[in-house]
């Protein structure tokens, strides 16, 4: 008890010592009123190398650093590509097999190559970096590190000298070569090898090069990508591939200076964790200055950032929403963004409420506190949140979350009438409206097909309804009654969930890698859905690796899967059902292994079209086919809700582009004021604790003294 009292006393002292009270800030006391945006990351990014990075949590960081030639307009919808480091949009020329230039409207069959010509803006410089540092003789300072140099280098900051260099077209060319490097295994190599002329052969050529720690790609030219002059380069694409422009807005096509790559490949670099994968080098608005993936990553303003300005044109309503107030101002506004590691949702959400994070995605379980749906079913903030001055931003993400049937399975798979009806029956029974309301708290739209809103081909309302699962009740779309599903199931040969011939119950298997706090309730829910049809669902839960393996081998029966758009084009969603992308047969992204020749033929047509009514007609035919065959339960399109604290200026949600940090703005003074107001410590419990311990101890002391006295007698 003495200990406890002493401890409490010291605690009290500590608390009162910092008398302006706020003691629970997770940031250093010196960080008050800085122009910094605070956010979090859930797991450490695996790759920050633009040739490797392919996850949304990684792009959140590297999109601020690397500048691919194109970017999406911040405000315009539908999403529009604009130049980022180019003087103008790339020009495209079509060539025939003999290399002659064809007119723009040349028939598809005659086009052998498309040539994209990109012209850079001069005067763009890289962030300060030791790889560019030069000694007085003009040689690269850190290009040939010796053992003596390493004796003084332990930390990134030990590279005392930094330098910069102008961005040139060769850097872009170098990065495209890196995509083929066998040392890197870029995830898009497989896709790009089909399109960029000579890329596949290039990779084979590199494989033949004897293994060395550093493969100097400047020495191996790539036929399909030619360097025209200091600021201009050309990319040759096989045939016609209109979607290629979208790829040019992804970090895969960002510039990487060869000397930086060489710098990181010096002996000793890896042992210090100095790799391009961890210390990115770009021309973007920000640079990564602190990179401690166990705790914190910090992006700070790139002092060499080229002039870039807030857009002055947008969609209708943008001006009213306050989105044009900074029109024409120089970017960026914020000095730094701090990402703190936050693995658990409870601390994350509480810190947000305490004002220590500026923006928050709302996890499903905090939803009730933050948002309520009004009688019209539209979300609005709860009074408590409004009192804190927060505002709500919603956007439907360019992704889908579906439940797939393995079409190779002999119970649920195949295009036979029996299997088709079985799948349709399940499609009606699994109530995604309920799923969205329980597990996503209404943050989703039940999907009528594979294409999410905001992407060409999505149709709203009755027009876009899936008539086999839903019905039109006076303009209101409702799920078909369970009786329809039971009817279909009977037609499929399983009346009341039992085999019509043997009477054996129909048993289906749900394969999942679900793990984590929510897993059990989700699985329970899923079993409940199938039980509506008396189908017995057996959960085959396993770890992620095993699950992936099962998918590759086609041993799964029913599974959940999702897709995040690479770019805003229906092709990027419909290709998930394209036969030649079958997961088992071709290792592609068609996880359901769906193969319908009619669909495939339509896909081949649709792919090359611009967004015209003709394209829409084809897409509608394709959707009708998939709805009929029902290889997926289309599931739902997740909606992203995010909360913005009172001190954060309005932003427009952008579900495709990631390089949006430069448009953000905050008011640090207001933030500091509110944080202090919200975080006054409650000291009363300490007082009670002290009283309780005294009450406990005093009688004991008294009793003991009496005992001592009685012994003394």
């Amino acid at each position: 008890m003495v200990m406890i009292r002493a401890f409490l006393l010291s605690l009290l002292l500590l608390l009162s010592a910092c008398d302006h009270a706020v003691n629970n800030s997770p940031y250093p006391a010196t960080d008050k009123q800085v122009n910094t945006l605070y956010s979090s990351f859930e797991e450490r990014p695996k790759h920050l190398d633009p040739a490797l990075s392919y996850s949304s949590n990684e792009s959140e960081i590297i999109a601020q650093i690397y500048e691919p030639p194109l970017q999406y307009h911040y405000l315009k919808r539908p999403y529009t590509l604009i130049p980022q480091t180019l003087t103008a949009m790339p020009s495209v020329r079509y060539l025939d097999a003999a290399g002659r230039v064809l007119p723009d409207d040349a028939p598809l069959a005659s086009i052998a190559q498309s040539v994209y010509e990109l012209h850079l803006r001069p005067g763009i410089y890289y962030q300060p970096h030791p790889a560019f540092a030069r000694n007085p003789q003009g040689q690269l300072r850190y290009a040939h590190l010796t053992a003596a140099d390493w004796a003084d280098i332990h930390d990134w900051r030990d590279f005392k000298q930094v330098g910069t260099r102008e961005l040139v077209a060769a850097d872009y060319v170098y990065q495209i070569r890196r995509l083929a490097s066998p040392q890197l295994n870029s995830p898009i190599f497989g896709v790009m090898a089909e399109y960029i002329v000579g890329l596949a052969d290039y990779s084979k050529q590199l494989l033949a090069v004897p293994n060395a720690t550093y493969l100097d790609l400047t020495r191996y030219p790539l036929a399909g990508v030619e360097l025209v002059n200091r600021y201009t380069y050309r990319i040759h694409i096989r045939g016609k591939y209109p979607q290629f422009s979208y790829w040019l807005a992804m970090p895969f096509f960002a510039p990487v200076p060869p000397e930086v790559d060489a710098f990181y490949h010096q002996p000793g670099m890896v042992a210090h964790n100095f790799t391009l994968d961890w210390h990115p080098v770009g021309t973007g608005a920000y640079q990564l200055t602190v990179n401690d993936p166990n705790r914190q990553m910090v992006l700070t303003r790139n002092p060499n950032y080229h002039p870039a300005f807030y857009p002055s044109d947008g969609n209708e309503g943008d001006a009213a929403a306050g989105l044009l107030r900074d029109a024409g101002k120089r970017l960026p506004f914020i000095d730094a963004q701090v990402f703190s590691l936050e693995k658990e949702s409870i601390p994350y959400w509480n810190k947000f409420l305490q004002g220590y994070y500026d923006l928050s995605g709302i996890s499903s379980d905090s939803f009730d506190q933050a948002v309520e749906l009004n009688a019209q079913g539209n979300p609005e903030l709860t009074p408590a949140m409004r009192a804190q001055g927060m505002s709500l931003v919603t956007a439907v993400t360019a992704s889908n979350s579906y439940m797939g049937f393995n079409m190779l399975d002999n119970v649920v798979g195949g295009l036979s009438e029996r299997a088709r009806k079985l799948r349709l029956a399940i499609a009606i029974a699994v109530d995604y409206e309920e799923f969205i309301s329980i597990f996503a708290n209404g943050r989703g739209i039940p999907a009528q097909g594979p294409i999410p809103p905001g992407i060409f081909g999505y149709q709203d309302g009755v027009q876009g309804m899936n008539p086999l699962v839903y019905q039109n009740n006076n303009g209101k779309i409702t799920r078909r009654p369970i009786a329809d599903a039971q009817g279909l199931l009977a037609e499929a040969g399983y009346p009341n969930g039992r085999d019509a011939k043997t009477g054996a119950p129909l048993v289906l298997y749900f394969d999942t890698a679900a793990n984590g706090p929510d897993a059990k309730s989700r699985l329970d829910w899923m079993v409940k859905q199938f039980a509506k049809l008396n189908i017995q669902l057996v959960i085959r839960g396993t770890d992620y690796n095993r699950f992936q393996d099962k998918m590759r081998r086609g041993n799964a029966q029913i599974f959940e899967w999702g897709w995040n758009a690479d770019y805003p084009d229906p092709e990027n969603f419909l290709f998930l059902l394209y036969g030649a992308n079958g997961k088992v047969a071709h290792g592609g992204e068609n996880a359901a292994n769906y193969q319908n020749p009619q669909f495939d033929a339509l896909f081949d047509q649709m792919k090359y079209l611009d967004n015209t009514p003709a394209r829409l007609a084809i897409i509608n035919q394709m959707l009708a086919l998939v709805r009929e065959d029902s290889p997926w339960l289309f599931g739902y399109f997740p909606k992203a809700f995010s909360l913005r604290q009172a001190w954060v200026a309005p932003t427009k949600p952008n579900v495709i582009a990631n390089n949006t940090l430069k448009y953000r703005k905050i008011d640090p003074v207001l933030r500091e004021k509110l944080r202090e107001k919200w975080n006054q410590p409650v000291l009363l419990p300490l007082f009670w604790l002290a009283i309780v311990s005294v009450i406990l101890i005093l009688p004991a002391l008294w009793a003991w003294r009496r005992h001592e006295r009685s012994r003394a007698l």
């Binding site: 658990e344 949702s345 409870i346 959400w349 509480n350 996890s363 499903s364 379980d365 905090s366 009730d368 506190q369 309520e372 749906l373 009004n374 009688a375 079913g377 309920e434 309301s437 329980i438 597990f439 039992r498 043997t502 009477g503 054996a504 119950p505 048993v507 679900a514 793990n515 984590g516 706090p517 929510d518 897993a519 059990k520 309730s521 699985l523 329970d524 829910w525 409940k528 017995q536 057996v538 959960i539 085959r540 839960g541 396993t542 770890d543 095993r546 393996d549 099962k550 041993n555």
Partner: protein, 437 residues
């Protein structure tokens, strides 16, 4: 119906039967009888013993599995879903599902939904629960009703006992029984009208899942030590008795096993088992078989990390016993080693083994929750307190807080572990009256 015997069912009944046999065939003047007598005089031992017995009965009831027969079928067909006797008893709890969360004893859902009023107007409100579509009797009425049922039952038992001239003095045990009887009656009277502990995210009754979790907790607590017990005893005694190279080998084995951080060993083994399940899908055709195998395997692997302590203890004791006069004498008379170990050494170690089994129990029940948190515990589809606590991590971040699943899991777990801890103390006192102040 078709009875189904899962691996853990078989083991738990084997355990119960062997314990019954052991108690029945014990020597009349043996150490065990003496200890039991002392245990029976210890009030704490009696109370906690009865509580543990109640938990055990629920777990045993939950270990009688069967597949219900499906109606209207030419040839008998069985459901793939494996049920237990406890499920049948708790059918009212199982049957009443809600859509999502509802608070204990609530009549409305915990979240607002669009509710269409009689006049066709749509408002956001808390909808009525399925179980309370019509207004239900007041809780106090039900409590009263339950209490009177309980009183009546007690009176009945008392009358029957008087009638047959059974002499009985009221001890601590009787009071526990009376309280349990009353409590059960209260639960029965409430359960038909309310979700006593509320419902979880997908609307299942929390009381039901908590009761179902008892079996998981108890199995982990007992099977884990008992599966590895034969090895620990055999190796510990032979290492101490024979010494020499055998001793070296056994010491090597347990030092090596001990040196591996146990969480890592468990994680590796659990992942390995998943590979086995995936590669042999024919053996695990139902959810019950899969979850049961994972539970059994978890018990084995925790056992592997745990048995070394006991083994080392037994080795040390055997080393001492080996030097005792009567053992030396038996050796001099060329009694076989096997006989010496069985007759002279094992009985003298018996109390150590028993104490260690009882002492380990509570730690293992608590460990289950931690392993589930790390992601290498029981199957996510299995009902267990660990899984409930794991899910509660998200529920605690909600506002208003969904506290009841967490509180239910923690309090049941706490009751079991507290009872086990106190019982373990009593057992230790009973077997080792001098060794413990």
């Amino acid at each position: 119906m078709m009875p189904v015997v899962l691996w853990t069912d078989a083991l738990i009944y084997l355990l119960v039967i062997s314990m019954a046999l052991m108690l029945y065939f014990q020597p009349a003047d043996g150490q065990l009888r003496e200890a039991l007598r002392r245990l029976y005089q210890n009030k704490m031992g009696i109370i906690t013993g009865w509580i543990l017995l109640m938990f055990t009965l629920l777990a045993l009831l939950d270990s009688l599995h069967y597949r219900p027969v499906l109606p209207d079928s030419p040839t008998p067909q069985y459901s793939i879903e494996v049920m237990s006797a406890l499920d049948a008893v708790l059918q009212p709890l199982r049957a009443h599902n809600e859509k999502t969360y509802s608070a204990p004893l609530a009549q409305h859902l915990y979240v607002k939904e669009n509710v269409t009023l009689a006049n066709g107007l749509v408002v956001r409100d808390y909808p009525r629960l399925n179980i309370a579509q019509t207004p239900q009797p007041e809780v106090s009425v039900l409590l009263l009703r339950g209490t009177s049922w309980g009183m009546a039952a007690i009176l009945l038992i008392w009358l029957v006992m008087r009638l047959f001239h059974v002499r009985h003095t009221m001890g601590a045990g009787s009071w526990v029984l009376i309280i349990v009887l009353l409590g059960t009656m209260l639960l029965i009277s409430l359960a038909g009208h309310y979700h006593i502990l509320g419902t979880d995210k997908v609307g299942q009754d929390v009381l039901y899942s908590t009761l179902k979790s008892i079996r998981t907790g108890l199995l982990i607590g007992t099977l884990t030590t008992l599966i590895m017990l034969p090895f620990a005893v055999l190796m510990g005694i032979s290492a101490g008795y024979f010494g020499g190279w055998l001793d070296d080998v056994i010491q090597y084995i347990y030092t090596t096993l001990n040196a591996i951080p146990s969480v890592l060993l468990i994680a590796a083994a659990v992942l390995m088992m998943q590979v086995y399940i995936e590669t042999h899908p024919a053996l695990f055709d139902s959810s019950a078989a899969r979850t049961d195998f994972r539970l059994l395997f978890l018990c084995i692997i925790i056992g592997v990390t745990n048995w070394t302590g006991l083994c080392r203890l037994l080795r040390g004791e055997t080393l001492k016993l080996r030097e005792l006069d009567y053992v030396q004498a038996a050796r001099a008379f060329a009694v076989s080693d096997m006989r010496i170990m069985l007759r002279h050494i094992l009985p003298n170690l018996f109390h150590l083994i028993l104490i260690s089994v009882v002492m380990d129990f509570s730690g293992l029940v608590l460990a289950e929750a931690v392993l589930s948190y790390v992601g290498v515990g029981v199957d996510p589809a299995m009902q267990s307190w660990g899984n409930m606590i794991n899910a509660a991590r998200l529920e605690m971040a909600r506002e208003p807080v969904v506290w009841w699943p967490l509180v239910a899991a923690f309090s049941f777990m706490f009751t079991l572990v507290l009872a086990a801890n106190l019982f373990a103390d009593s057992v230790r006192d009973a077997f080792d009256p001098k060794g413990h102040a």
